[in-house]
């Protein structure tokens, strides 16, 4: 019950925050120099057409009024027309979102378990080679910007050891997948095309790695230090001294308290994938929401930018709520804690 109450509360405050976000981003996009009608219709459009465009899109109204027009449309899922693709922004989002979702899922969820695994191994073999290796790679990977990973992967795995499809995209042209979920690997498997699924996986692997490697190693490092810190605690000594086997102690008594503090970090990392995806999608020609957003930003396509930022904000806030729920399930203290 408490869980439910605190979630409703989080949701309510998130809506306020997201509304605030739309105000900020709306104001920002209106600060773009130049005539939005001209930007949308091109340099050769006659003045009457421009004026008509302004009239239809309420561009002659004061900014707050424009905002409320925008908001009331947005609530109904209408984000206007993209000046870059000349299509409805909502349609663009529907088309581009699945690619980003697929990428983020692969870059977010399996690495989480890899991070936990590496952290545990590193802690258990403290100051032996698996630990040194994990820590060394941790330092280097954390220091590597996502776009540098992406570029180096293209060079190393695209050209030097050609295992990666260099053209990018989600699938090689000889394959066709009937969309069911929009997630290609899954769709290919549903459609009984293992070769296509493998091809989609190869396309996905390197963008996902570029996106996740730094975070994974950092999470491994946090898990390691958390495990080492807790391993010296009395409650671990207590069960050890009772003759509970080391494996059971590690698995059932040490892992849980050590993972809880990293859950929040991992949640934030997962959410920040949406940001770094901007670069990765661009470099790997991944036809997702982020590369769409990136193009929109560089082309000052305000309707598209506002919509993409809002959606990413929603994903971000949604993730942090999920993280809170997971933390509450794992940590009984949080279930009881008063929600502020």
């Amino acid at each position: 019950m408490l869980l439910f109450k605190s979630i409703t509360r989080r949701l309510a405050s998130s809506i306020v925050v997201l509304l605030g976000l739309t105000v900020v981003i709306f104001a920002l996009m209106k600060a773009v120099p130049g005539d939005p009608a001209r930007l949308a219709l091109g340099p050769n459009a006659p003045e009457e057409v421009l004026e008509h465009y302004r009239e239809v899109n309420h561009l002659n109204e004061p900014l707050p009024v424009q905002y409320f027009y925008w908001l009331s449309n947005a609530v109904q899922g209408d984000f206007g027309i993209s000046s870059y693709t000349q299509r409805a922004v909502s349609q663009d989002i529907k088309d581009f979102a699945p690619a980003t979702i697929e990428l983020v899922i692969w870059a977010g969820i399996p690495p989480l378990f890899i991070a936990l695994f590496l952290g545990v191994i590193s802690a258990q073999h403290r100051n032996k080679w698996p630990d040194y290796l994990t820590r060394f790679l941790g330092y280097v990977f954390v220091a590597t910007p996502t776009f540098v990973f992406a570029v180096l992967f293209v060079l190393i795995f695209g050209y030097w050891l050609p295992v990666m499809p260099t053209i990018g995209g989600r699938l090689s042209p000889q394959f066709a997948i009937t969309p069911v979920t929009g997630l290609y690997i899954l769709d290919a498997l549903i459609g009984g095309q293992p070769a296509a699924a493998w091809d989609a996986f190869l396309h996905l692997l390197f963008p996902a790695l570029a996106l996740s490697l730094g975070k994974t190693m950092q999470e491994a490092r946090i898990t390691r230090s958390s495990m080492l810190q807790n391993a010296g605690k009395d409650y671990i000594t207590m069960v050890t001294s009772q003759g509970v086997p080391r494996k059971i102690v590690n698995r059932q008594f040490l892992l849980k308290p050590s993972v809880i503090p990293t859950i929040t970090v991992m949640g934030m990392d997962f959410a920040s994938l949406f940001g770094n995806a901007f670069l990765v999608e661009r470099i790997f020609n991944w036809p997702g929401l982020s590369s769409y957003g990136m193009n929109a930003i560089l082309n000052k396509d305000s309707n598209a930018v506002i919509a993409v930022v809002l959606i990413i904000g929603m994903a971000f806030v949604g993730t942090s709520i999920v993280v809170d729920i997971v933390a509450m399930i794992l940590d009984p203290r949080m279930r009881q804690a008063r929600t502020r």
Binding site: S13, S14, V16, V17, L18, G20, L21, V24, I25, L28, M29, A31, V32, P33, Y139, V140, V142, A143, T144, P145, T146, F147, V148, V151, L152, V154, L155, G158, Y159, W160, Q218, I222, S225, V265, A271, S272, F274, G275, N276, F278, L279, R282, I283, G293, M294, I297, L298, K300, V305, V309, I312, G313, F316, V317
Partner: protein, 287 residues
């Protein structure tokens, strides 16, 4: 120097250097700083930092004459790299120098006026900025302005202060109810006095640790903006725009990409290691 002062410095150095990695970081950072300052003297072809064209020397792979090869215009990559260091370091330092005080003040005010409308307004604003990945909004902000180094710094600064506001708010709002703060108020200390004498000393350890760890992240974000063309503009060299130039010529002219890429990694690595050491001094767990 008093003996106590000396002893505490020795102790801090001991804590900083425990494990050894932070010393390596410090050495990397010092080397980078020296290279950045003396770039005009060290660079073998200082004129190559600008819009020079030397067709006879273009597209040369690394050699003893051009340690890191030359680009399509025949400019020496090593020289250009050296000249890009200054703006890279400046980015890290300036963004934090501006955003940290702003974040601190917002956080102190929100924490001091806890449970009033001031807290609500300030912290909601902070939440708004933290509700999207910083990179996304920084890209959007940088894109609406003239693309140059200064504006990319402004964009990153706008996205960076909220973290410090949240950090300070957390500490201050828990200190707020401590007796010694109430006591200071009762004895007529003004808010300014309480901030300087009570709140600042209690937050400074965490802020300094986060700052040293953040320099690397700011540099990463700056390089990212420059990579997509929203930072320093060619022909002025920057790590991001050099990589972007190089990508077009992969895989043949790999040296255009590899050297700036490794340089960024080294710089960020150096600052992160130093940050870990600073965290050890203050016993603050970095992330």
């Amino acid at each position: 120097m008093t003996p106590e002062r000396k002893e505490s410095m020795v102790r801090n150095w001991y804590k900083f250097s425990a494990g050894g990695a932070s010393v390596v970081g410090l050495i990397i950072v010092l080397i980078i700083i020296i290279l950045a300052i003396f770039a005009p003297l060290i660079a073998p072809y200082p004129e190559d930092a600008g819009a020079v064209v030397k067709f006879s020397e273009s597209k040369l792979p690394p050699s003893s004459k051009h340690l890191m090869g030359t680009d399509t215009m025949g400019r020496d990559v090593f020289s250009r790299l050296l000249f890009s260091l200054k703006s890279t370091l400046l980015m890290g330092v300036l963004v934090l120098a501006i955003s940290v005080p702003i974040g601190f003040i917002v956080g102190v005010l929100a924490g001091y006026y806890r449970d009033t409308w001031i807290e609500t307004v300030l912290m909601r604003i902070v939440d708004i900025f933290l509700s999207v990945p910083a990179l996304v909004l920084a890209l959007a902000i940088a894109a609406i302005m003239e693309p140059n180094l200064r504006n990319s710094m402004i964009a990153i600064t706008i996205m960076w202060w909220p973290w410090y506001a949240r950090l300070t708010f957390g500490v201050v709002s828990s200190l707020r109810t401590e007796n010694y703060i109430t006591y200071a108020e009762l004895t007529g200390a003004g808010l300014g006095h309480i901030i300087v004498k009570e709140f600042l000393p209690n937050t400074i350890d965490q802020i300094l640790t986060k700052m040293t760890l953040d320099i690397g992240y700011v540099i990463i974000m700056g390089a990212t903006l420059s990579f997509v063309g929203l930072g320093e503009q060619p022909p002025i060299p920057a790590l991001g725009n050099m990589i972007n130039d190089g990508v077009k010529f992969l895989p043949d002219m790999w040296w255009l990409t590899i050297f700036p890429a490794v340089t960024i990694i080294l710089i960020v690595l150096g600052f992160n290691l130093v940050g870990d050491g600073v965290g050890n001094i203050f016993n603050v767990e970095g992330n």
